[in-house]
């Protein structure tokens, strides 16, 4: 068997299911499991155990208990991948599963590529010839239906748009090249200016696709929702109400949430990818400062910001700072703690910060219907397009598109710097190739990877 590194991935759906499975496969699988797993029976050593046995214990991040789990041991070649494999079965919350995976990765495993477990199974001869032939039949189908099935995620219109951009890039490359080879008949005079216009046009098109790609991400991964506010405004309580579980640690002491917490919730058919953050205030506490910085850092990437205000206190300079941080963002102001006497009213907020606001009480769980409706209106009407036709939902595709856009930007830079024309084609070629990998017209080096990425992670 080929020496290969150890990979890990979450084998169950990343959703609030009852159980979560983290699968580790490779030579170091047992060693890595031993680093994170504290067996209930103290002197138990995993690698000394029989294959196909189950063990109870805790997953420890240093001295912190992440979860109670059972681990399943499978020694190679008697496992799906034919490598040593450990499965950690934990409680299914997204947050816990993620933390355990992160821990395993920190301890030396590498995040598995999509389909990598299946790929290993195949390459290690675990899947026999007839099964392998079935795989090839899949590929054959790809042959016959050309690009159609190989890029299933991608609908025709997007492909056509990318192809059109690509054709235009190719035209420019061809023009430069032929001018280099036949200067007598093809002149480059005034060309940089013309190319600049063309690149501008192409960049607009790639940007449009990328913007849609972002919306595609919203559909798939959820609306990136960041909860912001002063310490003790009730941000974590809000998250807990929305998640319906005690997830974030809630106390009355301001500044309890020192890091960001993430949670996925469903709200009227929309998925909100919630990020709880540390309260923003001026602080001398070094650890808290880090949390504050992180909170600020999460703002620019947010699709939606929930700004939680404690309505029982008055607005202060910390609020003014937060408002200035949110200038560019889509924001809903949540006036929390309406169970207490109101000091700050919606009208007072609106005067200084013109965004929609809702009065809620996380404690008494009131006002959430109105809030849900507001989110729904914001994302189902206009703000986000649901025309699936135009979405680049595949991450690999999005990355390729970003690369193409970067290459086009480099061409612009070359033109700005007054580089000789023959330099343009280097980056134009890169853009052409990147676009080609999206629509399957470039033979990249990652062909096998591409074939096996058709399988879902962990299977």
């Amino acid at each position: 068997m080929q020496r290969s590194d150890t990979i890990a991935a979450v084998a169950t759906a990343m959703a609030g299911s009852g159980i979560g499975v983290i699968r580790i496969s490779g030579e170091e699988a047992f060693a890595i499991a031993e680093k994170v797993f504290r067996p209930a029976k103290k002197d138990k050593v995993l690698h000394e155990q029989e294959t196909y046995t189950i063990h109870y214990g805790k997953i420890m991040d240093g001295e912190e208990i992440l979860d109670e789990v059972i681990v399943l041991l499978m020694k190679g070649p008697h496992s799906y991948t034919a490598e040593d494999t450990v499965e950690i079965d934990c409680h299914g919350g997204v947050y816990v599963v993620k933390r355990i995976l992160e821990l395993v990765l920190r301890k030396g495993a590498r995040a598995a590529e999509p389909g990598e477990f299946t790929k290993r199974a195949f390459l290690n001869g675990r899947i026999d010839l007839s099964q392998a032939e079935a795989v090839m039949d899949v590929i054959q189908a790809k042959n016959e239906y050309a690009l159609k099935s190989s890029i299933r995620q991608l609908r025709g219109s997007v492909r056509d748009r990318i192809r059109r951009i690509r054709e235009q890039v190719l035209y420019e490359i061809a023009f430069i090249e032929s001018a280099l080879d036949d200067p007598e008949h093809i002149s480059l005079e005034g060309y940089p200016k013309r190319l600049k216009e063309k690149i501008k046009e192409l960049t607009e098109q790639t940007e449009a696709l990328l913007k849609n790609a972002d919306e595609g991400r919203i559909l798939r991964e959820g609306i990136r929702t960041v909860i912001i506010g002063k310490p003790n405004a009730g941000k974590s309580s809000l998250l807990n109400v929305l998640a319906g579980e005690e997830r974030a640690i809630v106390t009355d002491i301001a500044g309890t949430t020192r890091d960001t917490l993430e949670e996925q919730i469903k709200l009227r058919g929309l998925i909100l990818h919630m990020i709880d953050t540390a309260g923003i205030r001026k602080t001398e506490d070094v650890v808290e400062q880090i949390g504050v910085e992180r909170a600020k850092g999460s703002i620019p990437d947010a699709d939606l910001v929930l700004y939680v205000v404690d309505s029982s206190t008055s607005l202060d300079e910390n609020d003014r700072e937060i408002m200035s941080l949110l200038k560019e963002q889509k924001v809903i102001v949540l006036l929390n703690k309406t169970d207490l006497p109101m000091v700050t009213t919606p009208e007072m907020v609106e005067k200084v910060f013109s965004r929609p606001s809702v009065c809620i009480s996380a404690k008494e769980e009131t006002g959430f219907d109105q809030f849900s409706q507001m989110v729904e209106e914001m994302f189902l009407k206009g703000a986000v397009s649901y025309d699936e036709e135009m979405h680049l939902t595949n991450i690999r595709h999005r990355i390729s598109m970003e690369k193409a856009a970067e290459s086009l930007e480099k061409v612009m830079e070359s033109i700005r710097l007054g580089m000789p024309e023959d330099f343009y084609s280097i980056d134009l070629m890169d853009a052409y190739e990147s676009l080609g990998t999206i629509i399957g017209e470039s033979a990249g080096e990652d062909l096998i990877q591409e074939i096996f990425s058709k399988f879902c992670v962990g299977k």
Partner: protein, 630 residues
């Protein structure tokens, strides 16, 4: 009947530019070598244009020289004008071109051959290739003589069943009226080799005394001449140069051509061979670029000791009377006397997909080929293939590893890969656009790219190799110095920057940082770089280019990295494509014919799709796994 019988190591058939390089390489690598030519007086003949190099071809000559070839050295001794082309563009497309004294060039190359140990020149026509069980064993001559050999290199150029044509005049001769080789084709066909028929052409030669140069623009050589060979001392090539002349065709010329197109053998169907699109005849240009009202015509001397001049840009196969009218319509050529007519030439060559990238026939071990016989055109393209064929034939006889130059290592790699991989239906001409990694494949760094390979093969002396290593180290040190030397934002630096229209500094930066500014040059930098060492020009040039284009070079290197991944995925020679389930029939056929050595090469075969490659990759990976199992 008794006949002459000899035993040698290597036989080279043909003594043109490919044959000369092939034979020299074999003999220099220790093989007892015989080179056959239909005429000893036509060794290294330049039957077409009187120049060596030019856009992208200059790169080829420099690479050939870096590997230990001869062409660069010979042209450095026999050129009469030299020019670096495209200097207004980036360093990747700078290309050297020299006007040759044709007779001198041939004579000088012949002398090199004559004085090479272990090399024998024989004037005879080879009529048969001898092979047993897929291994070449020698050649038979027209006289019946047999030369037994371990390896045979075919460099027959345009001589196989050659026919020269203009109008309805047709001569069964090679170029310049030389004897054609009419028998070898049949022998090759019997060995199962697939033949093509190609066509090329040349313009008229005129009497320089009858040209009115007053009506033309003078084209002078460069002030400072850069030699082709890395071994030539630049001081020895600063000679008095001769001029070329530029004039143009006009509407009248085009009218004459258009009116007589029906008499052109190209358009009447009398020529069946396929001509080069990239080296078109004047009638081709008039038809294809119908909107152009003039085309360039270069009048170039054929040598110092002749009045003959070459009419560059007006090759043709029109009838003699049309040629006269056409040439006379060009300003300056009104009274020109034609010494030799323009003509087209048709000849047999092979489908080069029958060759490995080593230039050995897949079907016949020990049989190699190079030059126009492989379907290329041009002296430089021929010489490069001859050299590679010569080296690899020698490596095979010596039991050493053969060399393959890939597309990221040189234009030679691009040339050979294109020939043996892609479908080629016309004479192949090297062009800048064919090279993907141009910025890395510059004419100025050919020695760094390829001399180590030539040294490994045994064609580069220890002394030359050490000199290269020294040069590389000097470049490295100078780059490091420029990166590390900081200059502050003091008044003299600011004044310097202002003087060169460059933005003033706000903080201290390295010299390299300043050099990266588009408006800056290494030469300017000396004004503020007081500790600049006195380096050889080529060292300074390399340091400057490497630093200046650093970002672009790095991006190109990344492209190469991607490319290499597929090149390194080797395909076993014994792979039976028919046994691969799910591979499309078209792909099976193409792959069977081409027998690519790597997935990379397979990806460049037309008719093999990315999906076919996936099937192939999966199959290979699976096979590898099974073999590894006990």
């Amino acid at each position: 009947m008794p006949f002459v019988e000899e035993y040698v190591d290597a036989v080279v058939v043909g003594a043109g530019h490919a044959g000369c390089e092939a034979a020299l390489a074999c003999a220099r690598l220790g093989l007892v070598t015989v080179i056959f030519t239909v005429s000893v007086d036509s060794i290294a003949l330049m039957p077409c244009n009187p120049n060596i190099g030019g856009s992208s071809k200059g790169h080829l000559v420099r690479e050939l020289d870096a590997l230990g070839g001869e062409m660069g050295k010979v042209i450095d001794r026999t050129f009469i004008q030299s020019k670096m082309l495209n200097v207004s563009k980036g360093p990747a497309v700078h290309s050297l071109r020299a006007q040759a004294d044709k007779a001198e060039y041939s004579r000088a190359m012949r002398m090199v051959l004559e004085n090479t140990k272990g090399l024998q020149i024989v004037q005879a026509e080879v009529t048969e290739i001898l092979a047993e069980e897929g291994q070449v064993t020698g050649v038979r001559l027209y006289s019946g003589a047999v030369y037994h050999a371990k390896t045979v290199i075919l460099c027959t150029g345009t001589y196989l069943k050659a026919r020269c044509i203009y109008g309805d005049v047709s001569n069964f001769t090679g170029p310049n009226g030389l004897q054609a080789a009419n028998h070898l084709t049949d022998s090759l066909k019997k060995l199962g080799i697939e033949m093509y028929r190609f066509k090329t052409g040349t313009p008229a030669r005129i009497d320089g005394r009858t040209v009115d140069f007053e009506k033309m623009e003078e084209q002078k050589g460069d002030q400072k001449i850069i030699p082709f060979s890395f071994t030539t001392d630049p001081k020895t090539v600063q000679i008095d140069q001769v001029s070329c002349w530029l004039t143009y065709t006009n509407e009248k010329t085009h009218e004459i051509i258009r009116e007589n197109l029906d008499r052109s053998p190209l358009y009447s169907g009398a020529i069946e061979g396929t001509g080069p699109r990239y080296c078109p005849s004047i009638e081709d240009k008039v038809v294809r670029f119908a909107d152009k009202n003039r085309h360039q015509v270069f009048i170039e001397p054929e040598g110092r000791y002749t009045n003959e001049m070459y009419v560059g840009g007006m090759s043709s196969s029109l009838p003699e009377d049309v040629q006269h009218a056409m040439y006379h319509s060009v300003p300056g050529l009104e009274h020109a006397k034609i010494v030799r007519n323009a003509y087209a030439i048709e000849y047999d060559c092979i489908n080069p997909q029958q060759l490995y990238p080593t230039l050995e026939f897949k079907k016949i071990r020990g049989l190699f080929s190079g030059g126009q016989f492989n379907g290329s055109s041009g002296y430089e393209e021929a010489a490069c293939q001859g050299l590679v064929a010569g080296i690899n034939a020698s490596m095979e006889v010596l039991g050493k590893k053969q060399i393959i130059i890939d597309r990221s290592q040189g234009y030679i790699g691009v040339l050979i890969d294109d020939l043996v991989t892609k479908e080629n239906h016309e004479p192949y001409r090297m062009m800048t656009s064919r090279a993907e990694y141009r910025l890395l494949l510059r004419q100025d760094n050919a020695d760094q790219r390829l001399t180590p390979l030539g040294y490994e093969a045994g064609l580069i002396s220890e002394e030359r190799y050490q000199a290269l290593l020294h040069k590389i180290e000097q470049i490295r040190q100078e780059k490091e110095r420029l990166e590390k030397t900081m200059v502050g934002a003091n008044s003299s630096v600011q004044a310097f920057l202002k003087n060169h229209n460059s933005t003033e500094l706000r903080t201290a930066v390295s010299l390299a940082e300043i050099l990266r500014r588009p408006e800056m040059t290494y030469a300017y930098l000396k004004e503020i770089d007081k500790d600049c060492p006195d380096l050889p020009e080529d060292v300074a040039e390399q340091a400057e280019i490497d630093i200046k284009y650093d970002g672009y070079i790095r991006r190109q290197l990344k492209q190469v990295e991607q490319f290499r991944k597929l090149e390194q995925k080797r395909i076993p020679e014994d792979l039976d494509y028919e046994k691969i389930p799910s591979l499309r029939l078209e792909a099976v056929q193409k792959l069977k014919l081409c027998k690519p050595i790597s997935i990379g090469q397979a990806s460049r075969i037309s008719g093999v799709s990315p999906a076919d490659l996936s099937v192939l990759l999966v199959y290979l990976e699976q096979r590898k796994r099974q073999e590894r199992k006990p």
